[in-house]
Symmetry: C2
Subunit: 233 residues, 2 copies
């Protein structure tokens, strides 16, 4: 996919209709496309935050907490927008899990306070708020849940977000991330993740084939496993 197509897809999916051509052109001017091979890392100006639109493929956003020790903060798939913060206490990097096409936009591009780009600013706020909610949910999962619950949560989330990959509701999805990457995002070890996969399989809640094919057989049961309780008032 070339830049124009990628940008159009982004505009279709994310930008509101009421945006002026001037604002769109300005954004388009500052955006650029990048093709990442599987495992490829996106290099950004560390001093600015960026919005990254994932046009195709799958990515992870990871923080380097110490040398060769990273914590994955978010997985993002085709159609998602990632907010990559500037270098701070931790350094973040966006890495492709599968070959991916991404659209890179410095956050500044949205932050012009010209009247025309007001709608753009609104988009930025909303996307950031969405990322904030996701991050807080993630923090809750990491803080309060057992390994079983974390994996169940994770699988339900991925299953829902990759829904468009399976035409009928029943097909399997291809997990783009390794066991190790799942472990790094859930704050567990690879062995624990593997064991939980096996146990969920034995419970008849999921089916797996090879390392990456997954089918959720019993979403309700898995949801129960995840400890999904309705919020109390």
């Amino acid at each position: 996919m070339n830049f124009p197509d990628l940008f159009d897809r982004f505009a279709d999916r994310v930008l509101p209709a009421n945006l002026t051509d001037a604002a769109i052109l300005q954004l388009r001017h500052e955006a650029y496309a990048e093709d990442l091979p599987a495992g490829g890392r996106l290099h950004l100006d560390d001093d600015r935050s960026h919005f990254i639109f994932v046009g195709s493929g799958a990515t992870k956003l990871a923080a380097f907490v110490s040398t060769e020790r990273e914590q994955i903060v978010a997985f993002d798939f085709a159609g998602d927008i990632v907010h990559v913060p500037p270098r701070g206490r931790y350094n973040f990097a966006l890495t492709a899990l599968t070959p991916a096409e991404v659209l890179v936009m410095p956050a500044d591009s949205f932050l012009r306070t010209t009247p025309e780009s007001c709608a753009l600013l609104k988009v930025a706020t909303e996307e950031t708020a969405r990322a904030l909610s996701a991050s807080r949910e993630n923090a809750i999962t990491l803080g309060r849940r057992s390994a079983r619950e974390r994996l169940a949560c994770f699988l339900l989330d991925v299953w829902a977000r990759m829904a468009d990959q399976r035409k009928t509701g029943e097909e399997a999805i291809v997990l783009p991330m390794s066991r190790g990457e799942i472990a790094e995002s859930l704050g567990l070890t690879i062995e624990t993740v593997s064991r939980q996969f096996s146990e969920l399989r034995e419970l008849g809640l999921i089916e797996t084939c090879g390392r990456s094919l997954l089918r959720v057989v019993n979403p309700e049961g898995l949801s129960r496993c995840a400890g999904q309780v309705a919020a109390a008032a």
Copy 2:
């Protein structure tokens, strides 16, 4: 503190100078002040997100993960801004730890796409981005660190953020939250938190007096304890 003073303090601290009077007045019109007693919960319209400016006192933002089981997502002190999301997968509530004066502003107030309020929108985006970074750091701490490291991290954070409470660099600060609340924010039990307090005290890194007076004797040592490693490239 009455509403005008509270709003002025908010405007001084957060709003940029280049804001038009019209935008400020619009925001002022939709904002309202609330006095919370210690333990008091702020009741908000669940369907909208809000920005809360903490004028004085200390607050916690907690998610109800199950009945009588909550996870604290953020602590905020005088001068801070909290983003409270709408009801979603979890329900959030802002609760005062000490008597607190807060300024409540529906996020919508910032999201007008009128040209005058562009600067306001920018403030909203920046505050949300700040909250996102804090939340991600929190997630990293919860995912990758031992009890000792989590508490050390937490104490350093609070020590830095309440710096203005101690005139000279050496004084003690008053922790506004209980051991139980610290535990709920770190994803630990109250007993573990208590034990870690004792051990940090025995190591000579901190001093405590009663339940809430804290002095960090050796910030460097505590920082080493927190496993603060410079980010790898």
